[in-house]
Symmetry: C2
Subunit: 208 residues, 2 copies
Amino acid sequence: MSSITIIGTGNMARTIGARALAGGNTVEVMGRDRSKAADLAEALGGGATTGEWATAPAGDIVIVALLHTAVVPAVTQYGDALAGKVVVDISNPFNASFDGLAHPEGTSTAQEAAKAAPAGTAVVKAFNTVFRHVLEKGRPDIFLAGDDPQAKASVETFVKTLGLRPLDAGPLKMSHWLEGAGLLTVSLANHGVGNFDFALGATELPAS
Amino acid sequence: MSSITIIGTGNMARTIGARALAGGNTVEVMGRDRSKAADLAEALGGGATTGEWATAPAGDIVIVALLHTAVVPAVTQYGDALAGKVVVDISNPFNASFDGLAHPEGTSTAQEAAKAAPAGTAVVKAFNTVFRHVLEKGRPDIFLAGDDPQAKASVETFVKTLGLRPLDAGPLKMSHWLEGAGLLTVSLANHGVGNFDFALGATELPAS
């Protein structure tokens, strides 16, 4: 069981919150608009609580479920309130035409969030290759990237409580390619793959 | 059934050649060293033939199974001999430390090969996310990227003769992200995923 704080009140916050509660974790919701956060916590039920924006989260794992452009500003605004937390960036920083990323080679939203976070705060990239509705009803693989083994292990434990399989994609700089894999997933869907009801995953060879 | 020419005599050439023949396709092998190409054709059996380097390939689909640094030079050297062919780039242009690509954002080996190819020659990116031994014994998904719908369809048909599932990743510029997905696959394997016996693929939701 993990203690989770979700920053954000949108669809992805709702879906991850619901799955987190179903998996036996505690959930706190934070939004700039506290009434929206309270509404989501109430809709989620299961003892979900609400916290004040930019104050210390109750959860050990803080999932930033915001649009990619809002991730670094939120991490910056929270500042030391995130000290010692594991921050999970789930964003997809697509460019305006959805055919590339909004940031250059060699970085990623996750890496920029890590630069903005206080010392001792680990950032893990996760969940970004999964469509929300697939996360809601499916069993997608969850790719993780991060530099802190303990932080990554704690997110892996959380992912397993959701009944999902965490796949270690390596260091945080692999977030660039995970964000590219998010783009690839959208492009596959837009070109007829899986009627949008699929996720990128690792297919193992059958034992011979 | 497709007619395939493979440029290259290495392990990937051998594996694709063997699967292509098993799938009922014709196979021609070309190598800078014609005796190596002849050796591979003989080892493959199944009526595989040998062609002269940089002359017109017999196959409608030309699979360039060379190291990434050799792909554009080979396409340049073949020049007009490739006119009207469908050229398949399977390479993984990893940088020296295997933690990024050898070319900048916005391009890919496949796109550079397309620039080097004669007018009317379509380039399709495919097979690059699959480890050779997985292709040899497994049923991995094959991601394709290309700008020419007819060329892509012909590669899809070929992929199906191998008993594999082609997945349309979109236009040729998605090759950059497929090459990144190749990097992601290696990083996953290096971080304990699937004991190297896996491939990136699309997992569909079970029908509910």
